[in-house]
Structures are given as C-alpha cells and as structure tokens.
Symmetry: C2
Subunit: 385 residues, 2 copies
C-alpha cells in the first residue's frame, strides 16, 4: 500500500516464513510500517502482509533494494551470507541484529569459540577437518559423539550422531565433498532440554523471559512448557544470566534464544538463534509481551515490554503436516473439544513433517495442559486417535 | 496475493476501519483467507491486509463483485443500505449477520419496536414526526429528553439532548429537512453505563463475555473496565440474559454488543451493534478469545472460543487524536513508564477527537489500572501532563 504514515518507522523483515507472519501481527498493533522480503507470494508472511516485496532474500541486489525502503532491517532466518550483510552495512543499511552479532548465529565454530572465551558452559567440542579430530574427542568422552555442520549441511541435515570411527569418517568425507565445515561435540547426558529468550535493544535494555522446557523428538521441537516445571531456582537464574551475558557480549539486538541442556550439575549451552524462535511461540498467548512484539520493540529501540507470564503455565505444541492436507476441516473437532485452545496456522502448504502451525493452552496444571496441547496437535496433523 | 490455500474459507469484511484491521490480526492466527473491501488504500485495515479490494463499500456493484470472491461476507460497519443487502442475498451471497438481523442494528425505530415486543427493558420512547410527539413524551418523563436519528443523522450527529419544546421543534424541523427519521427517548437517570457482548454462530452456539463498564464523555467512549466493578450478580446475569435473548430473537450471527444503562432498579437497553465493538477491545489482551477471533469463528460457524477473562481486571482507554499528530514519538515515554501497557494503533490519519488507537492494561486493582490507562491515553494524545 502507498501513502503510509510518515511519522512511523519502517521495519523490513528478510524472509517470509511464519516468524515474519507472526511479527506482522505484532506490527499491526504497534502501528509501525512493517514490510517483508519474501521469495514467493505464497510464503507464510506474504499471504497476509500488506507490504510484500518479492525477491531473493539471500542475494545482495534484492536485499539492497529492499533495505533502501526500510529504516531498520531484521531477519526471519540466518541465511543471508556474511559478505552480503557486510556490503549492506557498508551501503548504510541498519541491520538489527548487525553482521558482527549474526556471524555467531550463522557459524557454530565461531559461536563455540566465543562462548568458551566468555566462560559460558558448553559441551566439550573441537573443530573437525579429519576423522582423527572426531576420534580424539571420542577418546575423551566416549562414543557416540555429535557431528555438526558449522554452517549449512547436506542431505537436508546439519547434525549427525556418530557411534564409531567408521561412521565419523563417512560423515567427514561427505561433509568435505559438500564443502561443509564441521565440529564435533560430546553427547551431553542431559536431564531435559531448556530454552531461554532475552530481548536486547540498541540502548542496551534487556528483558528476559522465563526459562522453558522444550520437548524434542527426532530432532524437532514438539512441545514447549513455560515455565520449565520444577526447575530449581539456581539453574533458572543461571540460564537467564547466560542469556543476558551472551546478548551483551555478542551485541545482539532483538530476540536472542539460547537452547540449553539441563544436566544434574547445571546448564550447558547448546544452540543460539538471533530472532524470534519456536521456543517462544507460547508468549503470544501466555506472556504480557509476545516475543514478536518484543523483537519489533527491540529493533526499533523502543522501551521493552514486560516478559511476565499471564498464566501459571502455558504449553505450546507444534502442528506438523500429515498425510491429509485439509487441516481446516479438523478445526471443528479440536475447537469444540477445547474452547480454551488457541490455534495458530501459518498458511503454508501442508507437507508431511513440516511445521505448519502451533496450538497453545494456558492454565495451572502443566500435565493436563501438555496432554491437551499434544492431543490437539496430533488431531490437527491427522494422526489416528 | 494469489494462489491461496483452497481448503480454507474466505471471509470478506465490508469496510476498512480499525475493526477490520483487528479482525485481520485474528484471521492471521486462524489461517483463514481474510479480505477487506476498503474505500481507500489508506484505510486502517487496507494498510496492513494482504488482500485488499478497493471500492464503494456501500454500493451494490462493488459489493456484489467483492461477494463473489468470498464464502462469507461480514461487516466492519452498519452502513450498507438495506436494499443493497437484500439484492446481495438474492444473488446468493452469505451475509453474516444477515439482512434480517442487520436492519435492527441499522434502524433504531425497528430495534425499539422489536425489543419492546420481546419484553426487553428499554427507555420510554416514541416515534417522532412532529414536535408534539416529543412534547407528549416529555409530559410523561419531564425535560430534557433525548432525540435520536433512527438512521443516519445531520451535522455529523445522531443524538440530541433537548430541554424545551422550542429546542425539540428546531431539531424535528432540521431532521425533516435532512430526511432523517427520529425517535424520542426519556433521559434515563443512570448510575453508570454498561455493555455486554455475545457471539452467536449459525449453528446457534453462544458465548457471552463478562459485563463491562463503559465510561463515556461528550458522547464518546473513553474507557472500558472489564468486568464492571462491584456490579451485583443479579444485574450482571440479567444483562447477559438480555444479550442472549436479543441474539436469538434477532437471529444475530457474529458479535452482538448491547449497551445498557444501569439504574438502581436494574438494567435498560440503550443501543445494539452487530459487529466487533469498542466496548470489547479489552478482549485482545484480557480474554482467552478476543472479540475479533470470536467474530470470525462465529461467522465461519466454527465452535466458539472461551470468553473467559485472563486477569481479574482489564482496562481499555481509547486514544484520541490531538493537536500534534506525531503519536509514535510519544511511544517512548509511555512504554518506558509502563512496561505492562499494550499499545494498539490503527494507522489512521490523526485528527483532533478521532479514535486513532487504544491502550490496555490488566491486573488486580481496577482503580490503578484505570489511572494508568487514562494517563497513557492522554499522553499519547499529546495532552499537557
């Protein structure tokens, strides 16, 4: 649309996925001028946004043109190559987070190196260029170990659990062929997985959300319980402190998600993301300020909103695509069964295993909430009941 | 955008105001195919919606064309003339609410006549074609009395408080010149004003929201306190029952707002609206299901969501335009001062006295919440502090 309100800033989000879609929802309330650079008119955010620019969301030409129309550029994903980010900054674009921060989200070798310098607890790890590097770590930690692509991946994967020198050699060989840099990490013997989100503004203001439990199956986040039930205060505080330390030290602007392992001894940092994150979708229905509104407030350097929970517990379950794509037809049952359930759909083409939406339910008994969210997500997927 | 998901229904909203804008936000989560018929690309909803049709939102030609692209047509306002609605229904459009219901929202004479037949408590009233009709009511109730345009109005007004036969005669004369039908009502000696909302689906399901207090000044709703503090149970239940009776009897589909006067003896119905309503904006931040999501669920005949409040009290204050249109610049102060505050802006051109947004705050002490919401709204307007 043309003739926008001149007194409000324009925020451009690079990438048209569900994170941009939900950020657009938050931008409507704030009344800011939100636009999206999407690769296709059928992208999740492109279906619902009033100001969609179509182009290559990883290439300099389209990004530079998009940046010219925006006061601030932010990101739905981490896939813009560092040289492109560098050139955009050189041309005067305001990237939030900036290139210097994003490279830690884009490259796990850099992230681990920097985290270690900062004294952040990490799994034992080392860079891998030969199978011997993997064997050296395994000699300390035992097999299996976890091989990770520092950037990208191959065969659609970026993480491989390997349990022998032979398997390690095969993965190292194939990664080398694909030009994918690797690192190896110990397999942490964790109690459960946690995540914590913090927002940081250019002014330096911080707002940290409650620590949540994330339930992963087959490498996919299935459910999030906010806050993590029965987490001891010391571990919760430590996790929040780590997120704050990392946000400061890496100069993050916007939302930072830190995924952690809880072990008997404490918490260990697994992964970082510098954008709204799946572990924070619960905040739309369960926190005073959603992660999407908070991300916009942070990248616009507005004062941050309260990250307070509005219910004792909120549980989010991802809805994955199943064999039957007619998800809407299944709304009737889940909505009739649970009037408290919040349904979020992303308008994406339904493909088996793809994240196509999520459901949320809030209340006091986290076991009951988890059961209800799981049931609804399974029904919406089309699983036999 | 083209190539939409074929398995989801399309809902068209007639009118591009803030109600359509906030309905679009709700439609994004539901993943339905939401589109707007707006008169200008700068209309509140047109600025943010992915599927905007521009045209005359009161004329048959553009409405008929718009209806052809929609499974269900619903309304941001009550201004589509009845003959146009009739012709749209004749051509097969699905209007929700339908013409038969809408005429009670469009014509206060019809509404009063029908409400009286139903035994709904109303102010004493009569139809007015001569000044003597006004005097006859005033002879029963005393002056002043309230003259109302049954439809439309003149000089931008539809309600006149008149305190003498001379003032009545002048208003009747000017209304006749403007072709505006009138009715006269007693001025109800009320304790305060209340409102209650109910959603009704074609299936007949109902969901009724808590009764709220609305604070009006100069004929404009300034604040809403949800639920109405210290309202006795009998009156609250009676107000909810009246809303349910009216929704059934008038065959409303979607949201029905009933504005009432609280008197020492009970509650009296003032006005009706068959759409999302200003008295329900608090539900975005204060109820499990917002009125906008509920309206969509009702018009799509989906099972309705829980209308439960998520906080003991939620207070909404409208933000009116002031002399200085740079509202965004004032965000910094109100957000820094009150991180719990939710800001909703409508992207409308700022004109003095125009509703340009609202703020909401939720908690336990309704007096404190009202003070905070009022302060924020006044500051955003630009009033001297």
């Amino acid at each position: 649309m043309s003739e926008r309100n001149r007194s409000v800033p324009s925020v451009g989000m690079v990438g048209g996925g569900q994170l941009a879609r939900m950020t657009h929802q938050a931008g409507i309330a704030l009344g800011v001028d939100f636009r999206v650079l999407a690769t296709s008119a059928t992208d999740s955010a492109a279906r619902v946004s009033g100001d969609v620019h179509l182009g290559d969301d990883r290439g300099l030409a389209d990004l530079a043109a998009f940046a010219k129309s925006c006061d601030v550029l932010t990101f739905d994903h981490e896939h813009v190559p560092e040289p492109v980010l560098r050139e955009l900054e050189r041309e005067g674009a305001t990237l939030r987070p900036g290139r210097a921060a994003l490279r830690y989200a884009q490259d796990k070798l850099r992230m681990r190196t920097r985290a270690e310098e900062l004294g952040v607890p990490c799994p034992r790890w080392r860079a891998v260029t030969t199978p011997e590097h993997v064997e050296a770590l395994a000699a300390e930690t035992g097999w299996p170990v976890v091989l990770k692509a520092a950037r990208g991946g191959y065969d659609g994967k970026g993480v491989w659990m390997v349990d022998s020198p032979e398997a390690a050699a095969e993965t190292v060989r194939r990664a080398a062929e694909a030009g994918v840099p690797l690192l190896v990490e110990e397999r942490v013997d964790f109690v459960r997985e946690l995540a914590v989100q913090v927002a940081r503004s250019p002014y330096g203001q911080l707002a940290v959300y409650p620590v949540v439990e994330t339930v992963q199956r087959d490498g996919i986040c299935h459910e999030v319980i906010a806050p993590a039930p029965d987490l001891d205060d010391e571990k919760a505080t430590r996790a929040q402190e780590l997120a704050i330390e990392l946000a400061h030290a890496l100069d993050v602007v916007g939302m930072l998600a830190v995924e952690l392992f809880e072990t008997p001894a404490g918490v260990v940092v697994n992964e970082l993301a510098m954008r709204p994150h799946n572990s924070g979708h619960w905040t739309i229905d369960g926190a005073r300020t959603s992660q999407f509104e908070q991300h916009l407030r942070a990248v616009l350097d507005l004062p941050l909103g309260s990250p307070r929970s509005t219910a004792p517990f909120t549980v989010m379950a991802n809805v994955l695509g199943g064999a039957d794509p007619d998800v809407y037809n299944r709304y009737f049952h889940v909505m009739a069964r649970d009037p408290e359930l919040k349904v979020h759909f992303y308008g994406k083409e339904v493909r088996p295993g793809r994240k196509i939406g999520h459901v949320t339910v809030a209340g006091t008994d986290h076991r009951d909430l988890l059961a209800r969210a799981r049931d609804a997500a399974a029904y919406l997927k089309g699983d036999p009941q």
